[in-house]
């Protein structure tokens, strides 16, 4: 379980009053094991900052974050991140990109290769193991990013607008693929998005954030059954939650 209490983050240092920006203020959040949380909010609300703090990549100023009771002090093997811009190594082929995390953790070579191949197959790239990232489409690149994250078998998957730069068709396909993978092997997921459809379609709960400083406006339960199928997009429950999100977001998005 991820537990965030009273988390605040200031950029530009706590000491200098001028020029410093309060990015996150008094964030409280509890994510249960195997829960899928989507986070949505206007641009600049600190969604990504929150995710990077949970990942242990940047420090925070006040509050506390624990994972299964242990405070977060840096990156750890219990978490893996999927990045918005994929962050694939351009010089390494698909297989080498997917084995990256395993190698860092000292997994023996044959074992990490086998594991990586299994995941490459799972995301549907079995014929692309020897390709370089530049030879792949955006959607395929992010599937590599997903396979790389899953390869280290994390308890928690942190996804930072992973499908944000993809076209609508690709994005939908990847959403469905992610849902299938997640049904198959449950993990705790924190998924940042700026798409209301995506937030409702994927999440058990949607965390709605306010603009700067980012606060938790509301945690919204998504009353849709699993597995989530596309037909649900036409259901009144889906539309209601989406409508509710829009009402809130349009007020925040004044400018």
């Amino acid at each position: 379980m991820i537990r965030v209490r009273g988390l605040s983050k200031q950029f530009g240092g706590v000491d200098h009053g001028n020029g410093s920006v309060l990015a996150l203020s008094e964030i409280d959040l509890e994510v249960r094991d195997n829960e899928f949380i989507t986070v949505i909010g206007p641009s600049g609300c600190g969604k990504t900052t929150l995710l990077r703090i949970i990942a242990g990549l940047i420090p925070y100023d006040r509050g506390e974050i624990t994972i299964d009771g242990k405070p977060v002090t840096g990156p750890g093997p219990d978490r893996a991140v999927v990045f918005q811009n994929f962050a694939l190594m351009p010089w390494a082929d698909v297989l080498a990109n997917v084995t990256f995390g395993l190698e860092i953790r000292g997994t023996p070579k044959d074992e990490s290769q086998a594991k990586a191949k299994e995941l490459i197959k799972l995301v549907g790239l079995e014929n692309f193991e020897k390709r370089l990232p530049k030879e792949l489409s955006g959607g395929m690149q992010q599937r590599v990013g997903l396979a790389r994250a899953l390869a280290v078998n994390p308890k928690i998957l942190l996804m930072d607008e992973p499908f944000g730069s993809l076209d609508e068709q690709t994005r939908r396909l990847l959403q469905e693929q992610l849902l299938r993978l997640w049904e198959h092997e449950r993990k705790t997921v924190v998924f940042i998005t700026h798409s209301m459809d995506e937030a409702v379609m994927l999440g058990d709960r949607v965390m709605l954030m306010t603009p700067r400083p980012g606060r938790v406006k509301e945690m919204i339960d998504v009353p849709l059954k699993r597995p989530r199928l596309r037909e649900l997009e036409k259901s009144s429950a889906f539309l209601e939650v989406k409508e509710y999100l829009w009402e809130n977001l349009r007020v925040m998005q004044v400018e």
Binding site: R52, A55, G56, L57, P75, G76, P77, R79, A80, V81, F83, N85, A87, M89, P90, W91, A92, F100, G101, I104, R105, L132, K134, V152
Partner: protein, 273 residues
């Protein structure tokens, strides 16, 4: 079946091969037709100007080639090329190692950059040959003087390029590596080093070119050995053909070392589009 096909080209080649250039050379000429044409054109113009103008400092191309052939024949050039290349290799090797280490530290750590930046740039823009008397005073007439000159010529451009290369590595790759638990030395080895190679090689190539300049300048001004000393000697005798012949040799060394660096570069950075 198999024997038949194997036999045929052998028969063919015995008749055709004698008339034609070897296939490797033909392929080279086909792929580099413009370059070859430009070189032949340059040589022809040089030859014509040399005979036409009759200037003492511009001997015709054929005379230069003649001088070069004489040098080759007498063996004087080979001995001097050996001396020069030895200093070049040591000097460039030192520049490479120190340039990469200092550059990498400057690119990665702000405080190292702040501390060293002004020195590196000062030494980079400063004409390196002004240090010749200093090195002469320190090392005397030894090889160390020439090597030191090569190092000041070559090192700083490698430092500057390496620092920029490391500093401009996509920060999301470094963040990715940290997220997967990389320690600092793993970030260096697995992310910063490969990601910075294209720009690092640009610096290495410039450094190699400058090292060749440093080699000749050092020999001409302090150590009086190798190709530089030969050029100095014939220059004093106003023997332009011989000076040009030595320049040709330096040019060939320059092209060869550049080719050598490029070969490594292509092999290590083939992933760049």
């Amino acid at each position: 079946m198999k024997q038949e096909t194997a036999e045929q080209p052998v028969v063919k080649s015995t008749t055709a091969e004698k008339m034609r250039l070897p296939p490797a050379l033909r392929r080279f000429l086909r792929n580099n037709a413009l370059e070859v044409l430009a070189l032949l054109g340059g040589a022809a113009i040089w030859e014509a100007l040399g005979w036409g103008l009759g200037l003492q400092w511009l001997p015709p191309f054929s005379k230069v080639m003649e001088a070069l052939a004489q040098f080759m024949h007498s063996g004087v050039i080979l001995a001097n090329v050996g001396t020069s290349l030895q200093a070049l290799m040591i000097g460039f090797g030192l520049s490479l190692i120190m340039g990469l280490v200092v550059g990498a530290l400057m690119g990665r750590y702000r405080y190292v950059e702040k501390a060293l930046d002004v020195y590196v740039h000062a030494l980079f823009v400063c004409p390196s040959i002004v240090f010749a008397p200093v090195f002469f005073a320190i090392f005397g007439l030894s090889d160390a003087s020439r090597i030191a000159i090569i190092v000041v010529y070559a090192m700083f451009v490698i430092v500057i390029n390496t620092a920029t290369a490391i500093r401009t590595v996509d920060p999301s790759l470094v963040e990715m590596a940290r997220a997967f638990g990389c320690r600092e030395h793993q970030i260096f080895a697995r992310i910063l080093l490969p990601a910075s190679l294209p720009l690092v090689f640009a610096g290495i190539r410039l450094g190699m070119g400058r090292a060749v300049k440093g080699m000749v300048n050092g020999e001409m001004l302090i150590a009086f050995v190798g190709l530089g000393a030969l050029a100095q000697k014939y220059g004093a005798q106003f023997d332009a053909a011989k000076v040009f012949a030595i320049a040709m040799v330096v040019l060939i060394i320059g092209l060869f070392t550049n080719w050598l660096v490029q070969t490594f570069e292509h092999r290590l950075t083939s992933w760049v589009d």
